[in-house]
């Protein structure tokens, strides 16, 4: 019969056309640069990019070496006293941040001069006594005078010291100077060395940096605030610094053999801090790190988790975190 054969032939033809067009379509589907995806190993701990992968342009790492790191450790403070010259070298005046303080100082000066006078008087009376020009009573009186004036001097001096100022220093300094008292938290007292050089920035002069010396460290800790007073001396040639000004003093933390990394390399996930270490080109390993608490907002010190001379990812770390953790 003609029809079935014809039918069969046409079915075959249709099938052939269909199959060949299917093949043609799949081959002809356009060229596009398809990059292989980065792969994960060890359950996400290692991220591997194929060679020359475009993502690597957005990931940068820096080598980390242990060195002496100088980080900022800042504490607030204010200028309590300054010595200004009155035009000539010889005369000067002391300015204090408050009238109370000024009173304390003048009390001290008075006490100081009375004590000196009393001592001189006592010596003279003694000499007179030896020449039998004065009575024993006079001697006793003058000696009493000396002790009481000295007691007053001591009291005044301790008041000054209590505020943090050293009266001897105040008197002996010759050039214009400013003294500043800073409250350093007890946990950071370690970082302050007597005599160390410090930087300060003042709220009155934003952008300007002043250099001073940490003269003395207080003996007692404020029981409430848990801070220790530290006195810092600044040279005040230009007379910019005035008592009452607020400042932030950077005592600088020095860590020896510290591994310093930029904070941008750290990502915090599920309660832990992580960094990524570049083991080889395009191969990144995730590490848990323990950081030391500092007051810096740019760098961090790593206590454990990475070793010397490893390369840590400093840009694009959060993208690696997305790949590594999956979110």
């Amino acid at each position: 019969m003609k029809s079935p054969n014809l039918g069969f032939a046409s079915v075959l033809l249709c099938g052939a056309i269909f199959i060949s067009s299917g093949i043609a379509l799949s081959v002809a589907s356009g060229e596009s640069m398809v990059y292989k995806k980065p792969t994960l190993e060890a359950d996400g701990q290692i991220v591997v990019f194929p060679e020359n992968h475009p993502s690597l342009a957005n990931i940068k790492s820096i080598p980390v070496t242990s060195s002496s790191a100088q980080l900022a450790m800042t504490a607030p403070g204010r200028v309590v006293a300054s010595r200004v010259s009155n035009g000539t070298d010889a005369s000067h005046s002391m300015i204090f941040e408050s009238s109370d303080l000024a009173t304390v100082y003048s009390d001290y000066q008075q006490a100081s001069s009375s004590s000196a006078r009393a001592t001189k008087n006592a010596a003279r009376i003694k000499a007179m006594f030896e020449s039998e020009a004065a009575t024993g009573r006079d001697v006793t009186d003058s000696e009493n005078e000396v002790s009481s004036s000295r007691a007053q001097l001591n009291a005044a001096e301790s008041k000054l010291r209590g505020i943090g100022l050293d009266p001897k220093e105040l008197e002996n300094v010759t050039s214009p100077t400013a003294w500043l008292i800073s409250d350093v938290p007890e946990s950071q007292l370690n970082e302050v060395e007597k005599g160390e050089s410090v930087h300060a920035s003042f709220s009155s002069f934003p952008g300007m940096n002043f250099q001073g010396k940490a003269d003395a460290i207080g003996d007692a800790i404020d029981p409430v605030l848990r801070t220790v007073k530290v006195r810092v001396k600044f040279s005040n040639e230009k007379g910019l610094l005035r008592p009452g000004m607020f400042a932030r003093i950077d005592f600088g933390e020095i860590h020896n053999a510290a591994l310093v990394i930029p904070l941008a390399s750290v990502t915090r996930t599920e309660g832990k801090d992580y960094v990524f270490v570049e083991k080889a080109s395009g191969r990144f390993e995730r590490r848990v790190v323990v950081l030391l608490e500092t007051s810096s907002d740019k760098d961090a010190i790593v206590l454990s988790g990475i070793s010397d001379n490893e390369k840590v990812v400093s840009k694009g770390a959060i993208l690696l975190k997305g790949l590594s953790f999956g979110f």
Partner: protein, 1048 residues
């Protein structure tokens, strides 16, 4: 029926006049009809937005979201309750049942809101009444170099937005990007402590010095003067001069304790745009201000877009100066125009093809014209009815109209009338043309009526569609039904009338024979070859029938197992929407370093016209997104300029590959702007499949969600999978040490105020500059609040005036906490989402469900549901499974009404499986999945296919009635040959009329293609099998009938 024909033919002029009047009404209705490109397929939805500034997600959830959900539980007619809580914001969405009216729903929600027990100062509001298809226009606010981002944003907020809100049809203007201006009073703890002040003192001072009020009226003589007492702060100088306190006899003002500066609110969202300048090179703006217009639900998009463009022109000309101008980047008009172009093209091609086929097969140009007039007239009739019933005309459904189906009734009528004209004896000619026409018409009127009744009732399932698919397809069903109804009326009235007018001359004279001479040769050849074929097939009818049955059954079974299922075909809206998620925890500034890279990568492709990136969320709170979420809108050039060089799918692949390879650790998913919004509104997630785990404990939920994800991600076809809610992120938690606080005589509230105001930047008052108002914020200088350490050292004033560092008073730690809490129906929820690529939705979900069921056993306190796009598929599938059998039953009943004989019904019915087979093969060849669109195609197919069977059975009945002496075996071939031309002239126009729609590629054609493919394939197989197998089938059935008769 006969009555109608008689009346029509007796009052011919009246019929013509009525038809013309109908046409006029139809034309008017078309102009008055609401036309849209895309129907608003969103459900009725009400969204409650509540801001609780500065609070972390967990606090917002417990203090705002949960109390609100409690009271909103009482709102009636709600089918789903979802909420998302993020930092400072709670968004609750209630979806209402189908057909619930928008304003009614909003009213019910408002009633309940007032009952909620919320923290002071927190007031919930409703999101504006706009639907997911409401984003109809976007513009950028551009300015010269000297205008800062803050300036542009201020202009947008205070000059542009109020004007645009006045345009009718606009529900909201949503602004993204730019810096919101505030006035900051910037102080520091040192300055405050110098004067023994606390932050609260400063706040109180400003709040107490900012009031304008009025008194009564003072009379003087015959005039009265209203009293205005002006004390409100109206510029920064006023703020600086606010008196705070006296210190040692000296008054201290705000300017003594700090500086007052215009400063931006901390940004939650950054917008960037890359667009072409005048020369065609791309210019990148990383800090743009965009306004997005949301249209009110129910308005007409084209009208509103036009009104907006006029308003923008007006603003550019009159209200903006110094080089500031608005530039429109995207508007819905493009999509509408594209769709109109595609649909108009398809319709035009369809009409032309139908006309040509009619001419060929009717063999008479004049009768083809008569049939062709039915097309516009029935369309106009449909428009008139649509206007009367308020059904909008959406272009998607208009594109699916098959004119071949519409003309079927008229064709049958004309064909029969023509045949009678040709075989009319001179005696008949004496009786007159009207009598002849009447006789011819009566022969087929009943069949036409019932066929059309069947076609319309076959649409019944479509009318029962709900929600998205209902809004998408029921306008189409209505349009088609009305048009077919119109064609029925016309076939029974106007068509016979026109035939009598046109053929009057021919009929009267004997010249009828000459005109038809030419076609006689061709049709003669056709008829003779066909009668030979029929004779051969009925030699052994059982064998023919068996072969056909085996083929059909094989195809149906083979096809259904090979063809996948999905909800809707992929729709192309002419643009691309990309959602990108950076790794969790990323800051907005860091994420923003990658957006220029992304914009550059995308704009380097030729078809791209512009790229807009939206990072994070806007300030208004309509979108609860975190800073790691990036939404990218890619506008494309006119398709004509590039679609030949690269297909849209290929373009998407390339862009995706570029993005994924340059920005690792980030997920990208591609979609369409409208579809995204619709899916998200309907199912709560943009993903193809979302597996929802519900419970109480977020950690437990997350643990099980991860287990589910591990199973799903290895199912073949899974792409862009993940857990939708982010993992907990590290948050700085300040936990009060109450004992220490009490020792210093400080109140917890004082510390909270310091934190709120100083670190958090809470607005405490307002400055009114002309008609603009800006917040006033009191805060510390940045270095006091920008690092962990500075927050630890933040000084708080004790009752004795001592400055106590915050770390003495509170535990300050980085702790993990949730950043996005999603809830549904009162329970917390974590969703595992995945898209499905390279595979159909139905089979993927089945496999995933089986695997998850086996691998993950949930504890009793957790529950799991499956949703996403897939929800729609199940719903539609269930609906169809229920309604389609009912429809088949209905069709069978109608057939029974017609024939009153069960065997005839079976014969007519057999055309359905004949066409079913062809539809399935067509889907398989084209690689389409079975979706709602194809389903609608099948439904239309059933109705049309039965027409062939009906025609044959009726013909057989007529022949048996007229020639009772001949046997069935003799009559069957005669009937078949007689029916050949009607078969061809009903099926071929329908078939060819949809070929343009089946192969259309333009925008707006995606919904029509599967539909048309099914109908074309089904009609082909239906025709082939009807022509070859139906006669045999009739013979075989006849034996059963006789057996029955014998038994009786």
């Amino acid at each position: 029926m006969n009555k109608i024909l008689e009346t029509a033919l007796s009052k011919r002029m009246l019929v013509v006049i009525i038809s013309l009047a109908m046409a006029a009404i139809g034309l008017w209705a078309w102009t008055a009809l609401q036309k849209e490109a895309y129907p608003d397929v969103g459900d009725t939805q009400v969204t409650v937005i509540t801001e609780f500034k500065g609070r972390a997600a967990a606090e917002v959830e417990s203090q705002v979201t949960v109390p609100l959900e409690k009271v909103l539980n009482g709102v009636p007619q709600v089918i789903s309750r979802r909420s998302k809580t993020i930092f400072g914001l709670s968004v609750i969405s209630l979806t209402f049942a189908d057909k619930v009216e928008d304003y009614w729903a909003r009213q019910r929600v408002m009633e309940k809101l007032s009952e909620a027990d919320l923290p002071t100062g927190v007031s919930p509001g409703l999101a504006p009444l706009t639907g997911p298809v409401g984003e109809i226009l976007r513009y950028m606010v551009r300015g010269p170099e000297d205008k800062t981002s803050m300036d542009l944003r201020t202009i947008q907020d205070w000059v542009v937005t109020p004007k645009l809100l006045k345009v009718p049809g606009v529900a909201d203007v949503i602004t993204f990007g730019g810096l919101v201006k505030q006035y900051h009073v910037i102080t520091s703890p040192d300055l405050l402590s110098r004067y023994k002040l606390s932050i609260q003192n400063v706040i109180d001072a400003i709040q107490n010095n900012n009031l304008s009020t009025g008194g009564n009226i003072i009379a003087r003589g015959e005039q009265g003067f209203a009293i205005r007492s002006l004390g409100a702060l109206s510029n920064p100088k006023d703020i600086e001069n606010v008196f705070v306190t006296t210190f040692q006899g000296v008054p201290i003002f705000v300017k003594d304790i700090g500086s007052v500066e215009p400063y931006p609110m901390p940004r939650t969202g950054i917008l960037g745009i890359s667009s072409k300048d005048a020369n065609g090179t791309f210019v990148d703006d990383g800090n743009g201000v965009q306004g997005l217009i949301a249209m009110r639900r129910g308005e007409n998009a084209s009208e509103v877009v036009d009104a907006l463009k006029a308003a923008i022109k007006d603003i550019n000309g009159n209200d903006l100066k110094d080089g500031v101008r608005l530039e429109v980047t995207y508007d819905r008009g493009d999509l509408v125009n594209y769709t109109i172009r595609t649909v108009a093209g398809t319709l035009f091609e369809g009409i032309t093809i139908v006309a040509v086929i009619l001419i060929i097969f009717l063999g008479s140009f004049r009768s083809a014209v008569v049939v062709a007039t039915v097309i516009p007239l029935s369309l106009l009739f449909a428009f008139a009815l649509m206007k009367a019933t308020n059904i909008p005309a959406n272009l998607l459904s208009l594109g699916a109209i098959d004119f071949g189906i519409i003309v079927d009734g008229a064709v049958v009528m004309v064909e029969n009338i023509l045949r009678h004209y040709r075989i009319a004896t001179p005696a008949d000619r004496e009786k007159g043309i009207i009598a002849c026409t009447l006789k011819a018409a009566n022969e087929v009127s009943k069949e036409i009526f019932f066929s059309i009744a069947i076609i319309i009732s076959a649409f019944l399932p479509i009318f029962t569609f709900q929600r998205v698919e209902g809004k998408l397809f029921s306008p189409m069903a209505f349009t088609l039904s009305f048009a077919i109804l119109g064609s029925l009326l016309l076939a029974l009235t106007l068509v016979p009338v026109l035939m009598t007018f046109i053929f009057r001359k021919q009929f009267a004279g004997a010249s009828s024979q000459s005109a038809e001479h030419k076609e006689n040769k061709a049709s003669l050849w056709l008829q003779t070859s066909y009668s030979r074929l029929v004779a051969r097939t009925i030699v052994n009818p059982v064998r023919t029938l068996a072969v056909a049955l085996v083929l059909v059954v094989m195809v149906i079974i083979g096809g259904t197992s090979r063809i996948g299922t999905e909800f809707l075909p992929k729709l192309d809206e002419g643009a691309i929407n990309i959602r990108a998620f950076f790794p969790v925890g990323i800051s907005i500034q860091e994420a923003n370093t990658y957006t220029p890279i992304i914009r550059k990568l995308i704009s380097s492709h030729t078809p791209v016209k512009f790229v807009v990136t939206q990072l994070g969320r806007n300030e208004q709170g309509t979108d609860p997104y975190n800073p790691n979420r990036l939404e990218i809108l890619v506008g494309l050039n006119d398709y004509k300029t590039w679609i030949k060089d690269i297909s849209k799918d290929e373009l998407l692949k390339q862009i995706k590959s570029d993005l994924e390879s340059h920005v690792p650790g980030t997920s990208f998913s591609f979609s369409q702007p409208i579809l995204d919004n619709v899916t998200e509104a309907v199912t709560g997630s943009v993903a193809d499949l979302a597996i929802l785990v519900n419970g109480k404990d977020l950690h437990q939920l997350r643990e099980y969600a991860q287990k589910v994800l591990d199973v799903v991600k290895i199912v073949p076809g899974a792409a862009e999978y993940g857990i939708e809610q982010e993992a907990d992120q590290a948050q700085l938690v300040i936990d009060m040490k109450r004992l220490e606080i009490a020792r210093f005589g400080i109140n917890v509230n004082d510390i909270q105020h310091v934190i709120e105001a100083a670190i958090g930047g809470k607005p405490i008052s307002t400055v009114y500059e002309d008609e603009k108002k800006f917040d006033i914020v009191v805060r510390f200088r940045s270095n006091f609040r920008s690092t962990l350490d500075s927050i630890r050292k933040l000084p708080v004033t004790s009752s004795t005036g001592a400055q106590v560092p915050l770390e003495v008073l509170a535990h300050i730690d980085l702790k993990d906490g949730p950043t996005l809490i999603q809830r549904e129906d009162g329970e917390r929820q974590i969703s595992v989402r995945t898209n499905i690529e390279g595979r159909d939705q139905g089979s993927f979900v089945k496999e995933a469900q089986a695997k998850v069921q086996a691998a993950v056993k949930l504890p009793p306190e957790l529950s799991m549901t499956w949703g996403g796009q897939f929800e729609n598929l199940t719903r539609a599938g269930n609906q169809l499974a229920m309604v389609v059998p009912l429809t088949i039953l209905l069709i069978a009943s109608i057939l029974y009404l017609l024939y009153k004989d069960i065997w005839d019904v079976i014969v007519a019915f057999s055309c359905i499986p004949f066409s079913l087979a062809g539809g399935i093969i067509a889907l398989w060849i084209r690689g389409y999945n079975l979706n709602v669109s194809a389903g609608v195609g099948f439904i239309s197919l059933f109705g049309v296919a039965t027409m062939s069977g009906v025609l044959f059975v009726s013909r057989m009945n007529h022949l048996q009635h007229d020639h009772p002496e001949e046997t069935v075996a003799d009559l069957v071939p005669k009937a078949a040959v007689l029916q050949l031309r009607p078969w061809l002239t009903t099926v071929l126009p329908a078939l060819f009329g949809l070929i343009p729609a089946a192969f259309a590629q333009g925008i707006g054609s995606d919904v029509q293609r599967p539909l048309a493919t099914v109908i074309v394939g089904g009609l082909i197989s239906g025709l082939l099998l009807t022509v070859t197998v139906l006669p045999s089938l009739y013979l075989v059935i006849d034996r059963f009938r006789r057996k029955d008769a014998h038994v009786d």
